[in-house]
Every structure is written in structure tokens, then in C-alpha cells.
């Protein structure tokens, strides 16, 4: 190495485009340059795309740093943050920063990105008006969110929607003003844009479309917007997110050719051959850039040229778009609609499931795709568009997705990505242009085992993160099942839930100590996360053998009541199927009087909750309730909670079956069982579904023909409607199938994972394979459930009220007067 011969590369702009180019230069020509980087922001290079996730509270700033300060040091890069360059002398080949620092260059790289586009509106200079561009903007928005103010966002494109959603997630009331009739009109057709608006409206965003902003209200600070039609929208925070424009200041300073952006050729050089430019500040063939994929391509070409390559040339790749709003899936690529008679549109719409797809086909090739709701096949369509593949063979099935089009049958619900059938050149990470083949190669050659390692080596899923599940699936596929649960159970171990559960069975581990010893736990007695989990896993694996570890239970399951914020408890007796009697109600009333219980409330699960019971009174309260025949409702347990029912055919003029009776049978069968998380059931007597069975862990909907069984629903934070499992004809079948699913969940669920995420994780195909496709498996699951229940159905209240179990729990050790 000869240090004297090194050239000087100065980079203006410490953002994603500039640093990606530097990374590529270092990879190709590690000793060619002494590198100096100037950044205007006081931070190391971070992932700007993820600012919306920071805003939404899903990530912290630390999580989105791409190149930490140590990276600059390790690579011998001189970094000046918070010191923007103010002048370029192309004759002397020097740049001068705001601090007065002057640095000479042989090659200069401009990567100054873009500025927010600000419309010429009166009032935009008022405090309370922000753009959404950098960490400082994000901090301002978070401060406003913390003050619980109201926000209005101008702009219904990607950026505006992500800003609005992030603020909404932070608890602010948010309105969004958009000039066009539908949202994201440049990436979505009218139909998908309308669905998007509908779903976001349901999540509480307020929309003003076809709305022209006239001015920002307020004298000393922003107080809202006035629209051209005279309507006003009060707000304390105004976010302007209508777009970006290339930052061409440095191009002007260096007297380069400029149009909308700094003009570059296919070699990424500007009109001055020693000055290159990449990213959002450039204009190439009349096009300016805002998405990350073409910018990575520019970085690659620019680095190659800087490393001495004379051939590398940039061409804008085909682009696809996704929206980063949790739970809202949007994808588009290529044409949004037919442009002339040669284009054909193929449309698929399932309004009730909120799924919409449109494909644009031209001369036997796919040229465009718009997807809403289910976007799992987005990557596949994008591959077809980019590859310009002939689709004549599969055209009729194309709209139903890869699984259907390639196999010609649906084979039940598709569980995630089919890695095995993916072509090696199929693109997985659109941001970084990483194919399945490249990921597989890196995993096998370098022996990678974790998602972070794959990210570090391939960059796949390192930018917007949308393809993380796909990268994870490939990792699991290559390395075996273990990698699918890379998340360690807790800090005491590196093993995931599945590994621990398998080890308990395979190695016949029957105590918590032996599990910790066999699997190399890092702590002596575990922690508040793993102890309850291990206790449950052992209880589930060895019914009748393993003795429950009382001290590894959360307080609710020790005290058999729900701790409240003031340290008192709530007591919920079981009401089988929601049915009670005057005697039971009298007993409850008497207990409430006798123990001065301050609050009595009907629960959402058709039972009665006694709130504010003192801990020392619990055994006596239970004793009195027991005398009236009432037992624990397990309202505190990771176990069977309620079975909600409607009155069914016994009373209702619409009822088709005895839903109440069936609910009681299910509850009598399942009560007392411990499960990974709480389990709620419902039985509705007709498809009107008054018992709300479609948001329960297991739901039964009676029809004239029999019983529809649905599973995996949830009415909590993230509402999930159940998936249909099967249609059954007798009550006995319902009991068997429901128990089989319950046992499958008990055996495979991760501790504290409800059935909704469990079903999403393993897929309906997996569940159907165990319960529907194989009678012997189902019957074995049913038998294991019944065996487990034979040890589980003791009323914990009776054991404590009269049996003297755990008496110490309810009495002080001593009373010092």
C-alpha cells in the first residue's frame, strides 16, 4: 500500500445515497481514496425511510442508524457532521464548510438529497408548521404528539400518509388534506386508493380530498388550515408532505448543468468530469428520484466509476411501491391502468375481505400490478414485469397469485411464502436488489444463522424492512426449522420457544431446573419472562407428572383473581354459557354486601365481576360463592375464559340450533385447561352471529345444516376476524374438533401468543393438515386434551377456601402494632 498515491474523495451529504456509494467504493477499491464526508445533520448516516416507523413508535432513532460513528473510524473516513459545505471552488478543487474548514478533492461526490416541496401558501413560516424530512422534523412532530395536540397533514402520498398514521398512532387526532380525488394516485388506481381511504378512515384518520389549501391560520403560531372552499380545519401542528424537490444548491455552487436536479449521465458524472452526483439531488434522462431502489443502483454505478471502471452505466430499473403502515398492505408496480386498446385489465375483488387486485397485460406480458389487502404475491408479479416473461400459459390463473397460477389448484389457504418454488433470480428485497439466490448463497457460504447476519452480509431487508418475513422464510428454509423462531425466549437463553418446547419432549425434561441445565440457561432461576413460560410448557408436556411451580406464576394465577391497580382483586365466578339463576345472583349480591365490595359489573364475556375485593377476604368470598355452587371463572388465567352464547333455538325465532346448550357443553369440557394465553369461545345460534363468534379464539356459528367452526379471531388491540376451519354436522363433532384445535394450540403456541398470531404464524394449511386431513391425528389430539383435562378440572377456589391450600398467600406474615 502506498499512501502517497491515494486520491482524495470528498463526499457532500452524509445520507443514504452518499454512504451507500462510499460502502460500494470501499468494497471495490479499499485503498484508492482518502475519504472525507460532510453532513449538514448532526447524526451519523441513518435510514430516512424508517422515520415513519420512528414516528409511529415502532422503532427508535438508534434502531435506524445505518453507519454508526465506529464505522467511519474503522474505515478511516473523516466525518464532519453538523457542518454543511457552503462553497465549492472547481478551479482550485476545494470545498469550504460553514465552519470555515477547507478541504481539497480529486473527486467530489454530491449526495445532498432533497428538500421538502413547500407550496406558496401564506402562513407556512409560522411556528407549528413542519415538513417530514429528517430527525429534527420527527422530533418536532413527536413533541406535538406528546402535548396531545391536533394535527393536519397536507399531502396524501406515501410520505403524507405515513406521517398521518404515525401521528395517529401517537394519540393525536389527525386530518389529512389531499389535492386529488384519491390517495396515492401516482402509485394506486382509483379503486385501491378508495379502499385505502376507507380503511384509514375506519382507523380514525379524517380525510379532505379534492381539497386545495388556501392558507395556514394563526397570528403567532399555526392554528389550522383554511381550504379554498372556505372550510377550516383547526390544528396545532401542520405537516407539509406534498413531495420533495432535488437539493441543487451544491450544483449551483459548482456551476454545474442543472435542470430540476443536478444533471448526470449514465456514468453518474455531472457536467464537470471530476464531480459525481447520486440520489435525490440528481436528474437522469429527465427523471428525478425518491424511491430507494434506483438510488442504490446509482450508488453501485457511481462507485464502480470512482473505482476505475469505464463501462458501468446506470439505467433506471422498474419500480415497485409499498406503504409502511402496519396492517395496511398496498403494492404497485408498472402501469396502474390500461392506456390503450392493446392493454387488458384483469381485476379481482373480494369486498368483504378487503382484497383487490388489478393486473395490466399487454401482448402476453404483465406490464402492471396494483394490489390492496393481500400483497404476498407482489414480489412475484414484480418479477414477471421486470423479466418481461411470457404469461400466455398462466394468464387465466395469474390473478389468483403464484400458488394457484403455477400449480393450477389452490390447495387451501397458502401459508406465507413458498420458498421452495421461488426462482433463484426472483427478487426478494426491492430496495437493495437482492435475489433469493444471493441470500441463499450468503447463508450457505458464510454459515449465517440469524436475520441480522443476513442483513449485514446481503443488505436484504435492511432498508424499508417490508421483505423481512420473506428473508426470514428463506433463512428458515436453508438452515432448517430453528431459524424460524430466532427470537430468544428471554434474556436468560438464546433459544426460541419452539426449540425449548421440542427439547422438553425429546430430552424428556421434566423440571424447570433440568430444562435450564440442559439448554444452558444463563441465569440460576430464570426471570419473570421465562419462568411462567417454562412452567406452562412443562405442565402441557407432562400432564399429571409435572407439579405446577407456584412461584413461577404471575400473581393473578397465584391468587386466582385479577390484581387491580390499587392492589385489590376482582372476582369472577363462572356462569356456564352465560346462564345464571336467581339463587346464584342472590349469592353474588350477598357476598358483595357482606364484604363491602365496592363495584359490581357485567363483563363482556357474559359474567359478573366483583371489583375491589381485599386480598385477605378472597378465601372467604370464594367460600360463600362455592356454597351457592359457583366456581372460579378463571377470569385471571392464561386458560379457558368464557364461552359466550346467544339464546339460540330455545327462544330465538331465528335460532337454528341450541347454541346455549352447546356453549355450556364446550365450557364444561374445556374449563380449567391452561393454555399459552387466554382463550375465549362463542357459539352463535344463527349466522346473525349475536355472540360475536367471528372475533373469538374458537367460534361456532350454527346453521340449519349444522355448525361452522371458525378459529383465530381476536377483538383486542388488533382486531382479527376468524378463519373458517370446517363445517360439522353434530355437537359431538364440534366438541372433538374444537378440543383438537385447542390441544394443537396448547402444544404449539408460544407462551403469551394468542390464537390469532399463532394461526398467522403456522398458517391455516398446517392446522387443517392436523385437524381435517388426518382423522387419526385429530383423534390423538382430542385424546391428549381429554387426558390433560383429567388433571386440570379442580376448582382452585374450593381448594383455597376450604382446602387450606396456599393459606400463606392470603395472610400477612406478621402484624406489628
Amino acid at each position: 500500500m502506498n499512501a502517497v498515491s491515494r486520491q482524495r474523495l470528498v463526499v457532500i451529504g452524509n445520507g443514504m445515497a452518499g454512504m451507500r456509494t462510499v460502502e460500494e467504493v470501499l468494497a471495490r477499491a479499499p485503498v484508492r481514496y482518502d475519504i472525507t464526508v460532510f453532513g449538514a445533520e448532526p447524526h451519523p448516516n441513518y435510514n430516512r425511510i424508517m422515520l415513519s416507523s420512528v414516528l409511529a413508535g415502532e422503532k427508535r432513532i438508534d434502531d435506524i442508524v445505518i453507519n454508526p460513528l465506529s464505522w467511519y473510524a474503522e474505515n478511516g473516513i473523516t466525518l464532519h457532521t453538523g457542518d454543511p459545505v457552503v462553497a465549492i471552488d472547481t478551479a482550485a478543487k476545494t470545498v469550504t464548510a460553514a465552519s470555515g474548514l477547507c478541504v481539497a478533492y480529486d473527486k467530489l461526490l454530491l449526495a445532498t438529497g432533497s428538500k421538502p416541496l413547500m407550496p406558496p401558501l401564506p402562513g407556512l413560516d409560522l411556528p407549528g408548521v413542519v415538513a417530514f424530512r429528517d430527525i429534527a422534523d420527527t422530533d418536532k412532530m413527536l413533541a406535538a404528539a406528546q402535548a396531545k395536540q391536533r394535527a393536519v397533514v397536507i399531502g396524501g402520498g406515501l410520505l403524507g400518509l405515513e406521517a398521518a398514521w404515525g401521528l395517529k398512532r401517537r394519540g393525536m387526532p389527525v386530518a389529512l388534506v389531499h389535492l386529488m380525488p384519491t390517495l396515492m394516485e401516482r402509485q394506486l388506481d382509483v379503486e385501491a386508493g378508495t379502499l385505502l381511504q376507507r380503511d384509514l378512515s375506519e382507523r380514525g384518520l379524517h380525510f379532505f380530498t379534492q381539497a386545495q389549501t388556501e392558507r395556514v391560520m394563526g397570528e403567532t403560531r399555526a392554528e389550522g388550515l383554511v381550504l379554498a372552499d372556505g372550510r377550516t380545519i383547526p390544528a396545532d401542528l401542520v405537516v407539509v408532505a406534498i413531495g420533495i424537490r432535488p437539493n441543487i444548491d451544491m450544483g449551483k455552487a459548482a456551476d454545474l448543468d442543472i435542470n430540476r436536479g443536478i444533471l448526470v449521465g449514465d456514468d453518474m458524472a455531472t457536467s464537470n468530469p471530476d464531480i459525481y452526483a447520486v440520489g435525490e439531488c440528481v436528474e437522469h434522462n429527465g427523471q428525478v428520484f425518491g424511491l430507494v431502489a434506483p438510488i442504490w443502483e446509482q450508488a453501485k454505478v457511481c462507485a464502480a466509476r470512482l473505482a476505475g471502471d469505464q463501462i458501468a452505466a446506470y439505467a433506471t430499473p422498474a419500480l415497485s411501491t409499498r406503504l409502511k403502515i402496519t396492517g395496511i398492505d398496498v403494492f404497485s408496480a408498472g402501469k396502474l391502468a390500461a392506456e390503450d386498446d392493446a392493454d387488458e385489465e384483469v381485476i379481482f375483488r373480494d369486498a368483504s375481505k378487503g382484497v383487490y387486485r388489478k393486473l395490466v397485460v399487454r401482448e402476453g406480458k404483465l406490464v402492471g400490478a396494483v394490489m390492496y389487502g393481500d400483497v404476498a404475491d407482489g414480489g412475484w408479479y414484480f418479477d414477471l414485469i421486470k423479466g418481461e416473461r411470457d404469461i400466455a400459459q398462466s394468464r387465466d390463473h395469474l390473478i389468483f397469485g403464484q400458488g394457484f397460477a403455477e400449480q393450477g389448484c389452490c390447495g387451501g389457504a397458502k401459508a406465507g411464502l413458498d420458498v421452495a418454488s421461488m426462482a433463484d433470480d426472483s427478487q426478494v428485497c426491492g430496495c437493495n436488489g437482492v435475489s433469493k439466490g444471493a441470500i441463499v448463497k450468503a447463508i450457505t457460504e458464510k454459515g449465517l444463522t440469524s436475520l441480522d447476519e443476513v442483513r449485514a452480509h446481503t443488505k436484504a431487508s435492511a432498508s424499508c424492512g417490508m421483505c423481512t418475513p420473506a428473508v426470514q422464510a428463506i433463512l428458515s428454509f436453508v438452515t432448517g426449522a430453528d431459524a424460524s423462531a430466532p427470537e430468544a425466549l428471554c434474556k436468560c437463553t438464546d433459544h426460541g420457544h419452539d426449540h425449548v418446547r421440542h427439547a422438553i419432549l425429546d430430552q424428556r425434561l421434566k423440571s424447570m431446573d433440568s430444562v435450564r441445565k440442559a439448554l444452558g440457561w444463563k441465569t440460576e432461576d430464570g426471570c419473570a419472562k421465562c419462568r411462567p413460560a417454562l412452567n406452562y410448557y412443562l405442565l402441557c408436556a407432562w400432564p399429571g407428572e409435572y407439579v405446577d411451580d407456584y412461584q413461577s406464576r404471575f400473581i393473578n394465577e397465584r391468587a386466582h383473581a385479577n390484581i387491580q391497580k390499587d392492589g385489590t382483586y376482582s372476582v369472577i365466578p363462572r356462569m356456564w354459557g352465560g346462564v345464571t339463576t336467581p339463587d346464584e345472583l342472590r349469592a353474588i349480591a350477598d357476598v358483595a354486601d357482606k364484604f363491602n365490595i365496592p363495584s359490581v359489573k357485567v363483563t363482556g364475556g357474559q359474567r359478573i365481576d366483583l371489583l375491589g375485593v381485599k386480598k385477605e377476604d378472597l378465601p372467604a368470598v370464594w367460600g360463600d360463592l362455592n356454597k351457592a355452587g359457583l366456581v372460579s371463572g378463571h377470569g385471571y388465567a392464561k386458560g379457558l375464559r368464557t364461552v359466550k352464547t346467544c339464546v339460540g333455538s330455545e327462544w330465538c325465532r331465528f335460532g337454528t340450533q341450541d347454541s346455549t346448550g352447546l356453549g355450556i357443553k364446550l365450557e364444561k369440557l374445556m374449563w380449567g385447561s391452561w393454555t399459552p394465553h387466554k382463550v375465549k369461545l362463542a357459539v352463535s345460534g344463527c349466522p346473525r352471529n349475536c355472540a360475536e363468534a367471528t372475533i373469538k379464539d374458537i367460534g361456532i356459528i350454527c346453521t340449519e345444516a349444522g355448525y361452522d367452526m371458525v378459529i383465530g379471531g381476536n377483538g383486542g388491540i388488533e382486531v382479527r376476524v376468524t378463519d373458517e376451519l370446517t363445517r360439522l354436522s353434530t355437537e359431538a363433532e364440534v366438541l372433538e374438533y374444537a378440543s383438537a384445535f385447542m390441544q394443537l394450540y396448547r402444544e404449539e403456541g408460544h407462551y403469551l401468543e394468542r390464537t390469532a398470531p399463532y394461526v398467522e404464524r403456522v398458517g391455516m394449511a398446517h392446522i387443517k393438515a392436523h385437524i381435517l386431513d388426518d382423522d387419526a391425528r385429530r383423534k390423538a389430539l382430542y385424546a391428549r386434551f381429554l387426558f390433560s383435562q383429567s388433571f386440570a378440572q379442580d376448582d382452585p377456589w374450593a381448594e383455597r377456601a376450604t382446602g387450606g391450600i396456599d393459606a400463606h398467600e392470603f395472610q400477612p406474615l406478621a402484624v406489628v402494632s
Binding site: 419473570a528 412461584q551 413461577s552 392492589g567 406489628v816
Partner: protein, 111 residues
């Protein structure tokens, strides 16, 4: 002056568990670790006054049952990133009897 009050034996407290003692300074939680060490703290989490005696004990720490703050039994401080401190009380084992010292060991401002 400190009064040493006999509150019982270590066997009265479940291993990896706690019992409470009612005193004139409020409810006190007496913990027993897996190694049979014992500690006494005012039974209030510095966060929202959650009853620490109901938490899961691990090593020399307890996780509050309300919001999972982790408190060091030795000195009552909350584990980072949480900040705060619970008052500890002196506890002696004398011939198998547990003696609680009833003038608070130290007063620490709540964080």
C-alpha cells in the same frame, strides 16, 4: 434507636416468594430468594405503588406485578432504564428467627 421485631422464620416464606408484614410505617414485603437470602422492603414499587410482594422473584430481584419494573432487593433501586427507588428495611436472622428493624434504614427520594 431501632426496634428489632420478631416476624417469624424463613420457613414461613416460600422460596422465590414473599410475605407481608403490617407495620406503622406501612406494609413491608419480606422476600426469600432461591439461595435463602431474605430482604425487607416497603411494599410499594417506585413506579405506581404496585405491591412488590406479589411479583416474581429472580436472583436478588423482583419484577413488579403491575408493569414489570424490576427492583433490586438489595438496595431497592429500579433496574435501568427505569429510575426510582424503594425504601429498604434492615432484617436479621437470629437463631432461625427473622428480626425486622423498624426505623427505616434510609430515606431515598422517589425518582
Amino acid at each position: 434507636m431501632m426496634d428489632w421485631i420478631d416476624i417469624g422464620t424463613i420457613a414461613d416464606i416460600p422460596r422465590l416468594g414473599a410475605r407481608t408484614v403490617e407495620t406503622h410505617v406501612g406494609q413491608v414485603a419480606v422476600f426469600r430468594t432461591g439461595d435463602d437470602e431474605v430482604f425487607a422492603l416497603i411494599n410499594k414499587c417506585p413506579h405506581k405503588n404496585g405491591p412488590l410482594s406479589e411479583g416474581i422473584v429472580m436472583g436478588r430481584k423482583v419484577a413488579c406485578p403491575l408493569h414489570n419494573w424490576v427492583i433490586d432487593l438489595n438496595d431497592g433501586t429500579a433496574l435501568a432504564p427505569d429510575e426510582g427507588c424503594t425504601t429498604t428495611l434492615p432484617l436479621r436472622d437470629e437463631g432461625g428467627r427473622l428480626l425486622l428493624g423498624l426505623t427505616p434504614a434510609k430515606k431515598v427520594a422517589h425518582g
